[in-house]
């Protein structure tokens, strides 16, 4: 291997290491749901290349409204699914769609896009 090859290979391996760290090992911070009128917990979630916030903390036994707003033309985020709650919603671009659930038991529940690429987590305490 010549110098160019060694340099290119090292850069390539570095890129692979970065992919693993950045996409798989990185952990985001959870955002706690605020309590609005009528005791309903509420969080606004922006859908743009993923969910912001991607981790949401909520209290068990209290209604929780997740207000999804898709701010991208990409079709990836056009659907959001909460499989454990049996909920699926179409998210038209730039429209806020509220999904109301009442998580009964503490635990971690996921919400994903229709194809399970975008992932969000609901941490119920």
């Amino acid at each position: 291997m010549n110098t160019t090859q060694i340099v290119v290979t090292l850069v390539g391996l570095g890129v692979i290491g970065w992919i693993i760290w950045y996409f798989w090992l990185w952990k985001g911070e959870a955002v706690a749901a605020g309590v609005g009128a009528g005791g309903v917990q509420e969080v606004d979630v922006t859908v743009r290349g993923g969910y912001q916030p991607a981790a949401i903390e909520a209290k068990a036994g209290q209604p929780l409204r997740l207000n999804f707003t898709r701010r991208e033309a990409s079709m990836c985020g056009e659907e959001v699914v909460l499989p454990q709650f049996g909920r699926r919603a179409h998210l038209p671009e730039n429209t806020t769609v509220g999904i109301e659930i009442t998580p009964q038991a503490p635990g971690e529940y996921e919400f994903t896009c229709g194809m399970n690429m975008y992932k969000g987590k609901l941490i119920v305490r």
Binding site: V8, I16, A37, A89, V97, M117
Partner: protein, 820 residues
């Protein structure tokens, strides 16, 4: 509807009906734990002055003339008319707080049954929102489709000439002719393709960038990386060729734009196909009536369906749709309930019978009292249940979920490794080969095909089942139903009609058949016993004219005695005959045969003499025999379970074509029997897995709830508006046993479809990615063009969606039984 388009939270002033923004509400008042918001102090004063009484529209801040009633459209105090939907729901508890109106005279009071919840959140009935949302989504989809096609045509218009130029390079004459302009062509191409990347491909780059910022990847990441890398490499090669070894540069501008064009086309077609997949649900929603003719204050009023409230009297004429669920008050008709039950034969309706909203009135006019409106109607609940099922995931999809969450980064890593392999070990020109193969790997990988494989088939399959009156609760139920080995059928109400009917009339010497039946029926006329009722109804059905009995006596536990046409008639069991000293020997032969057939003999004595036997029995539903045969044809063991004695049970089983009978099973033992059957199954290990047999239980959903829950799949037979039974995995709305056959057939077809999709998607990626990486090159000298890779990628997801759509043509085998 699951998703509620966000409506600003508003509350309704209980006095004037005006909508009030809680953040701006002038005043509030708490009553019985409920907070009310008012538009003005005046309304609050009037509300508070009302004491324990209900708030009244008359006590409004508006002039009384402005208050129309029953009022659902409020235009208060000069404010703009605001559609104030009938059903007001407390957040998260749509069933909890409700404001309705009575069907009384104009000016009627709002009838409130808020149960101590905190607030009235104003929102349209879920179902209505669902309809609106479905329409909105359709429009949005159409817009997306048109936008994608515009971008596709632009990319194609730029890409095709570039593609021709690329081909020209293969023609020696043209190659020589174009050689001096190579760099200029490159620069022009770089400039021309930029708008394609920025406009046509913008969504891919934006989405990839947004994803990157969120530590997320998606299909767009791959497209953006692939086309971006092709464009960037080509541009650098044109502008700074000296950076690469001589003769190793190449231009791949056409790759970038054609791949974008193909993927846009693929997505546009996918969008079209997807909208067809959810057609079943849309069809249900579109089929509801838009208006209803209600009778209020003695006047017929045409009102929008959203304004019909529980308790309204609704008039339906022949040919019209029944607007909401209810119970018939007056009139008779035949009603086509196929929208809900899947059963195309109209059902006869008389006063007291239930009618289902959205069914079609065929023959006569009738009035009915609305019992369920808005989100509570059978149709709304069906739509809701189907949607929930469509969002769930069958276990077979779990592996895919695992794979797809690692998919894109893995492909990126493979692309880097491909680049390194070609760069370090490939033939010259290494950079070209490395770039081409890396771009091909990025572009060919299709997470969409994998991600779509399960949900799209499930969506079509569950929708298809609903069309035939079979409501499948979730993906897991669907998957298990497809693998069942045993089906246990409850007898009463499932295989049989659940109510006794007259079956035999056996006169003894000296009596005619018609005479015997007439005497027995008249004697029984005043009895309320179901067996007596069956005899009376049977006689009427056979055209017997029935007079009135005299000196009627009901003998509890025995039967009845009465004087009919001047003769003393006794109808009842053996004990009654013995009590009256009627010699029983003459009855013996007939009684024994009838009992063997599972029928209940009722003995008739006239003037102390044995006159004959009339028999009643709970008879088979018309299509039970055919359904049992179909279940067996599907390879299922069919078992009947009943609390009846063995003799009766076996007689019914014989008629239905069932060999195995579990008789004399107490209701509380049913679940244990199901458990035993589940444990039986070693011979079926290869089918059921885990050494157990998968047992489906079919019952009425109420008495059989524990057994339904114990079974691997519980099928509840529901009728009328009583759909979506809680304990059941599958609800058969039509009340026919044939629904079980349909459920299993649809489940098997859907699962087969999912497997085909998954197989196709896995194989495509598992083969496609290595081929794109150039693994065939050492053997065959073949290298995949990224353009072909892009076309393959677009085709793969279209194939999955199209295959799922094949399920739309699924038709369950028709029931051959004659139906009433």
């Amino acid at each position: 509807m699951q998703a509620i388009t966000r409506l600003k939270e508003e509350f309704v002033d209980p006095v004037c009906g005006m909508t009030v923004d809680p953040t701006r509400a002038a005043v509030t008042s708490d009553r019985d734990g409920v907070r009310y918001y008012f538009c003005s102090h005046g309304c609050k004063v009037k509300f508070d002055a009302g004491g324990a009484g209900e708030p009244t529209p008359q006590a409004s801040c508006c002039s009384p003339a402005e208050v129309d009633a029953p009022q659902t459209t409020s235009s208060c105090c000069g404010g703009a008319a605001v559609a104030a939907p009938v059903q007001l729901s407390v957040a998260g508890r749509p069933e909890a707080g409700r404001v309705g109106f009575t069907d009384a005279a104009p000016g009627a009071l709002p009838e409130q049954d808020v149960h101590g919840h905190q607030s009235h959140v104003r929102s349209a009935p879920k179902h209505e929102q669902g309809t609106r949302q479905a329409g909105g989504a359709e429009e949005a989809q159409e817009q997306s489709y048109r936008a994608m096609m515009r971008k596709f045509w632009f990319a194609t218009a730029v890409g095709l000439p570039l593609l021709l130029l690329m081909f020209a390079e293969f023609v020696p004459y043209w190659r020589h002719a174009l050689m001096p302009y190579h760099r200029i062509i490159g620069i022009v191409s770089a400039v021309l393709t930029l708008p394609v990347l920025f406009w046509s491909g913008r969504q891919f780059f934006e989405s990839a960038w947004n994803g990157l910022r969120n530590h997320n990847t998606n299909m767009d990441t791959l497209v953006a990386l692939g086309t971006g890398a092709a464009w960037l490499y080509s541009t650098v090669a044109v502008l700074a060729p000296w950076l690469f070894p001589a003769g190793t540069t190449g231009m791949y501008f056409e790759v970038a734009v054609i791949v974008i064009a193909l993927i846009l086309l693929g997505q546009a077609l996918e969008l079209r196909a997807k909208s067809r997949s959810s057609a079943a649900l849309k069809k249900l929603l579109e089929l509801q009536a838009k208006t209803a003719r209600v009778i209020r204050g003695g006047q017929e009023l045409d009102v929008p369906i959203e304004e019909v409230v529980v308790g309204d009297t609704v008039l339906v004429r022949p040919g019209e749709k029944v607007p909401v669920d209810g119970r018939i008050l007056e009139g008779e008709s035949a009603v086509d309930e196929s929208i809900v039950t899947g059963e195309s034969v109209p059902v006869d309706k008389k006063p007291g019978d239930e009618v289902i909203g959205s069914s079609v009135n065929k023959t006569g006019a009738f009035t009915f009292r609305a019992t369920k409106v808005g989100a509570d109607t059978a149709l709304a609940r069906i739509v809701q249940m189907v949607e929930q099922a469509q969002s769930s995931k069958p276990p077979i999809g779990r592996l895919v979920d695992k794979v797809s969450s690692y998919f894109v980064p893995t492909v990126m890593i493979v692309a880097v490794l491909t680049f390194l392999a070609w760069f370090n070990f490939g033939p010259e020109p290494v950079v070209n080969h490395a770039v081409v193969t890396m771009v091909a790997v990025l572009v060919i990988a299709c997470p969409c095909a994998l991600g779509l494989a399960t949900p799209i088939s499930l969506m079509v399959g569950v929708g298809k089942a609903a069309e035939h009156g079979v409501l499948i609760r979730n993906g897991e139920a669907l998957e298990t139903a497809s693998k069942l080995n045993v089906v246990v059928l409850d007898k009463t109400g499932t295989i049989t009609k659940g109510k006794p009917e007259l079956t035999d009339v056996l006169p003894l010497a000296g009596f005619g058949e018609e005479e015997l039946l007439r005497l027995a029926a008249v004697a029984d006329r005043r009895s309320e016993h179901p067996l007596a009722e069956a005899i009376v109804n049977g006689a009427r059905a056979r055209g017997a004219g029935l007079g009135e009995p005299e000196a009627f006596v009901a003998v509890p536990g025995h039967g009845v005695e009465a004087t009919v046409e001047g003769r003393r008639v006794a109808v009842g069991n053996r004990k009654l005959m013995e009590r009256g000293g009627v010699p029983f020997a003459e009855f013996e032969a007939g009684a024994s045969r009838l009992a063997d057939e599972g029928k209940t003999p009722m003995f008739v004595a006239v003037d102390g003499r044995a006159a004959g036997i009339v028999a009643v029995a709970d008879t088979l539903k018309e299509d039970s025999v055919e359904a049992v045969r179909a279940l067996r044809a599907l390879g299922l063991d069919v078992v009947m379970m009943t609390g009846d004695n063995e003799r009766t049970a076996k007689a019914i089983a014989r008629q239905a074509g069932i060999e195995r009978v579990l008789a004399e099973v107490l209701p509380e033992e049913k679940a244990r029997q199901v458990e035993k059957l589940q444990a039986e199954g070693l011979p079926h290990k290869e089918r059921g897995g885990r050494g157990a047999r998968l047992v489906g239980m079919v019952g009425d959903g109420i008495n059989d709830a524990p057994a339904l829950a114990q079974a691997d799949v519980g099928f509840a037979i529901g009728t009328g508006t009583d759909v979506a039974i809680e304990a059941a995995d599958v609800t058969l709305v039509g009340g026919s046993l044939h629904g079980v056959v349909t459920a299993i057939e649809v489940s098997r077809a859907t699962l087969r479809n999912i497997k085909q999709n998954l197989f196709g998607a896995f194989v495509y990626n598992v083969l496609g990615i290595p081929v794109a990486a150039g693994t065939l090159f050492p053997l065959l000298g073949l290298l995949l063009s990224p353009i072909i890779a892009g076309a393959a990628m677009a085709a793969s997801s279209i194939t999955v969606v199209t295959n799922a759509n094949r399920l739309r043509f699924f038709e369950p085998r028709p029931a051959k039984g004659v139906r009433s």
